[in-house]
């Protein structure tokens, strides 16, 4: 049932660090986060890691397991052979703070730059009426738990710090798509998507969709439709006119 595994965990801070090797017990049904917690409790009390829900709901425990962006709480130990060395490193796209904890403030800066949700008026009786089919498109993107795994994966920023200023990353491209498809929102953010958030940098490799633990189809359902709508806007003089006079253009 239980066995001893070999774990290599990156330890260090902004000034540098290295992989440290631990031998640690693993029990039936455990996930990588359980093993990290056992290390904290028994061998490395100051090992830094983020977590909250331990059930794939909060997006706190993101790191790289054998080089792949993963949620530590949803990566089962049974996916590795007992003899396999498991290597845990911090998210590579963000600066390290300590051990497995990185500085993800880039994401919070981008989030704050997106023009806020702006609803149209309520119906006379005070309700907003929307059909289920119409809310579902945006609901898919609102499943996002902000784990930043897609941001970590996207090649535009993964090893290109210099692109961060001009590119908001897949998470925020789908936030823009979500607002664009939101049945109540009346703002047009298409120009911003292109000019301020770097929609054009994305060349649709779909790596972001592959790592998303929520199974969100970032590229197919979010980024590509957004790109199409931006193209529409740029070439359709009527849409252009519509947005000039402050009404929401219907695609």
């Amino acid at each position: 049932m239980s066995y001893d595994a070999t774990f290599r965990v990156w330890r260090g801070d902004a000034t540098g660090g290295d992989l440290q090797t631990f031998t640690v017990e693993v029990n039936e049904g455990e996930v990588v986060l359980d093993v990290i917690h056992r290390l904290q409790a028994s061998q490395a009390g100051d090992l830094a890691v983020r977590w909250n829900c331990k059930a794939g709901k909060c997006g706190s425990c993101s790191a790289e397991v054998n080089g792949r962006p993963r949620l530590l709480c949803m990566t089962r130990m049974s996916t590795f052979a007992e003899t396999e060395t498991v290597t845990i490193t911090p998210l590579r796209a963000f600066p390290v703070i300590r051990d497995l904890v990185t500085d993800v403030s880039y994401n919070y800066v981008k989030a704050a730059q997106i023009p806020a949700f702006t609803p149209g008026p309520r119906d006379a009786d005070g309700a907003h009426r929307m059909q289920q089919v119409d809310v579902e498109r945006s609901q898919e993107f609102r499943k996002c738990i902000e784990c930043w795994l897609c941001q970590d994966t996207c090649h535009v920023i993964r090893d290109h710090e210099e692109n961060k200023a001009a590119f908001a990353g897949p998470r925020f491209l789908i936030r823009l798509a979500e607002l664009d498809m939101h049945p109540l929102d009346v703002l047009d953010r298409r120009e911003d998507a292109q000019d301020q958030f770097g929609l054009g940098y994305c060349n649709i490799t779909k790596c972001c969709s592959e790592v998303c633990p929520e199974g969100i189809h970032l590229t197919d359902n979010g980024i590509i439709p957004l790109k199409e709508r931006v193209a529409d806007r740029r070439f359709d003089p009527l849409t252009w006119l519509g947005s000039r006079i402050g009404r929401r253009p219907r695609s």
Partner: protein, 608 residues
């Protein structure tokens, strides 16, 4: 001493639903507002809530209104709720939910395009506004996005370790003692920070991490409860801890993780190892009139609520948790010591995946169980604390001027047992009220407070103590021992002798905590953080144990094996905790506020 200083009107401690709603309201009422939280923004416990927000909007059942919701809430709490809180909650929840739509929330819809509502335990009508089974995520993201849009300052990964008090000038009443600010540390760097402010809103959530099997995260160490006590405020109803009937039990590493009540609300049933729907054997007299007697009636209720009564699986949580406990004790449990929760044989796979996507995912990934094809194994898990800071219902004000509390950290609203879905609505209703009152208080006292320098130095010294000691015990071991103690001795079923043993052990743990030492340095050091959380956990555990020992009856989330019945005298008595001069907890009995006759009448006119 190196210390970062800030000045605000209102400092909100906590960025869950209650804290963010309070901050939004304080900001909109002109207060310079800051939010402080231990995790990153958007990761607070609220994100985990699954089932929904209870609000009598009447979108599916026009018969529903605040009076029915009020009645259900009071009955669920076995009438120990503060009537005024329950009233405000039921009246204001629908508006609080609707306003989330103006901030971008997208709830599931009815065929008419209105917000859909689902069934939950203890609620007479389908009442929970929801988004699949990730309602908490929708709520926190909406409030987070609103907070960011308003430009409110957020101090994330920052822990408050002290509330500061001192003389407060202004407000016409001359000088009084009250809140002057808060002190804490940045988790990232370990550096200290102080906020000067005449109003502090506590919205720190619960205490579940003091128990071994819990649905709660590392954040739930009872900080707000403890900070309030230490600042001179009172806690009420601390003996009432909710054990949610359905937590995962297998494999061991996921033990305690929540299985939402929506599984039962959407048609799931509980069975023992013999395959019986045992809940029919556990219907208490108090709920007999409103509970189905046969499986047929129970099954018809989902479609026709007028002519049928509720399935017993949807009794309030305390009843269901105790029943599961008894079945397992009687030897009718599952291989891993729980009972079966079966929705697979009752609803189509497509329906289950649509209504319960994250449960489907959770069981598939963590337990290798396909809930559309096989039953789940579940058992009780420590989930929610009904007890909390005693507050004025209308303003959420604690007994210390300038201190407010809302959300799970506040007490009174849920009486002896909370109904599912009533927490998210509580956060919104009382978060807003707390933010409003905190802003009003602050604007009266702007410039009237100063940071108490001696207290700041003392707080810094106390925080660094664990580094000064060498060779002491490791904080993780002490935490595990506390969790085991509370689990074994102050759990679902309690007796005087066990609670007394728990109190002895807590005293011993307190000595051990005073001797802890931690490895490493101040930068992002979880061992140190835990060492600073432990005194809060012990203080709150002591409150729970003392109140549990004192209340010699069984009611809601407090079951005494040695006093199994409810008691008429206790029905009108609250237990209130204060900090004694020696640092211990002392208890006083206080009469329960009595509701006015026009509310009492509701219990007669609304049918059972």
């Amino acid at each position: 001493m190196e210390l970062e200083r800030h000045e605000y009107d209102v400092v909100v401690v906590g960025a869950g639903g209650a804290g963010l709603r309070a901050a939004i309201e304080a900001h909109e009422n002109g207060a310079r507002t800051a939010v402080v939280c231990k995790s990153l923004l958007g990761k607070a416990h609220t994100v985990m809530a699954e089932g929904g927000i209870a609000a009598a909007m009447g979108n599916l059942w026009p018969e529903d209104d605040w009076r029915v919701h009020f009645r259900d809430t009071m009955r669920g709490g076995k009438m120990l709720n503060h009537w005024r809180m329950a009233q405000l909650h039921a009246q204001e929840a629908p508006d609080r939910v609707r306003e989330l739509e103006d901030w971008g929330a997208l709830f599931d819809r009815t065929p008419d395009g209105l917000i859909s509502q689902r069934d939950f335990g203890g609620h007479r009508y389908a009442r929970l506004a929801h988004v699949g089974d990730r309602t908490g995520l929708e709520l926190i993201r909406t409030l987070q996005q609103r907070t960011v849009a308003l430009g409110i300052d957020v101090y994330m990964e920052c822990t408050v370790t002290r509330l500061l008090t001192g003389p407060v000038a202004g407000g016409g009443a001359g000088e009084e003692q009250g809140i002057t600010g808060a002190f804490g540390y940045w988790r990232e760097s370990g550096r200290f920070v102080a906020w000067q402010a005449p109003s502090v809103v506590l919205a720190t959530g619960g205490i579940g991490k003091s128990y071994k099997v819990t649905s709660n995260s590392w954040e739930y160490t009872g900080d707000g409860h403890s900070l309030a006590l230490q600042a001179g405020a009172t806690l009420v109803n601390m003996e009432f801890v909710q054990f949610h009937p359905t937590g995962m039990i297998w494999p061991p590493s996921v033990r305690g993780i929540l299985v939402t009540e929506s599984v039962r609300g959407d048609g799931g049933v509980l069975r023992n190892s013999a395959g019986n729907r045992f809940m029919f054997d556990y219907i208490p007299d108090f709920f007999r009139k409103e509970t189905a007697e046969t499986e047929d009636e129970a099954d018809r209720w989902y479609e026709d609520k007028k002519n049928n009564r509720r399935p017993p699986e949807l009794l309030p949580r305390d009843e269901v948790a105790r029943a599961i406990n008894s079945e397992v004790k009687a030897g009718r449990g599952t291989p891993h010591g729980g009972v079966f929760l079966d929705i697979a044989s009752r609803r189509s796979a497509e329906y289950i995946r649509k209504r319960l996507p994250s449960m489907y995912h959770q069981f598939k990934e963590l337990a290798e169980v396909d809930i559309t094809a096989e039953p789940m194994e579940v058992g009780p898990t420590c989930h929610y604390v009904m007890g909390g800071v005693e507050v004025e219902p209308d303003t959420a004000a604690a007994r210390v001027p300038g201190l407010f509390a809302a959300g799970e950290v506040a007490g009174g609203m849920h009486g002896s047992n909370r109904l599912g879905g009533n927490s998210l609505s509580d956060l919104l209703v009382f978060g807003r009220r707390a933010g409003l009152a905190a802003a009003e208080h602050a604007l009266k006292h702007t410039g009237g407070v100063a940071l108490p320098e001696a207290a700041l130095a003392d707080a810094a010294r106390a925080a660094l103590e664990p580094f000064d000691r060498e060779g002491g015990e490791n904080p993780y071991t002490v935490q595990q021992d506390l969790q085991q103690t509370m689990h074994d001795l102050v759990g679902i079923i309690r007796t005087a002798s066990e609670i007394e043993r728990a109190l002895e052990r807590i005293a011993e743990l307190r000595r051990r905590v005073a001797d802890l030492s931690v490895e490493g340095h101040r930068q992002y050091n979880p061992g140190w953080h835990l060492a600073l959380d432990l005194p809060h956990m012990l203080l709150v555990s002591e409150c729970i144990a003392r109140a549990a020992l004192e209340r010699q009856e069984s009611r809601g989330g407090h079951t005494r094996d040695d006093f199994p019945a409810t008691d008429a005298e206790w029905a009108t008595t609250n237990l209130v905790c204060v900090l004694a001069p020696d640092g211990g907890v002392s208890l006083t009995r206080q009469p329960l506020p009595q509701m006015p006759p026009e509310l009492a009448e509701i219990f007669e006119e609304v049918p059972g």
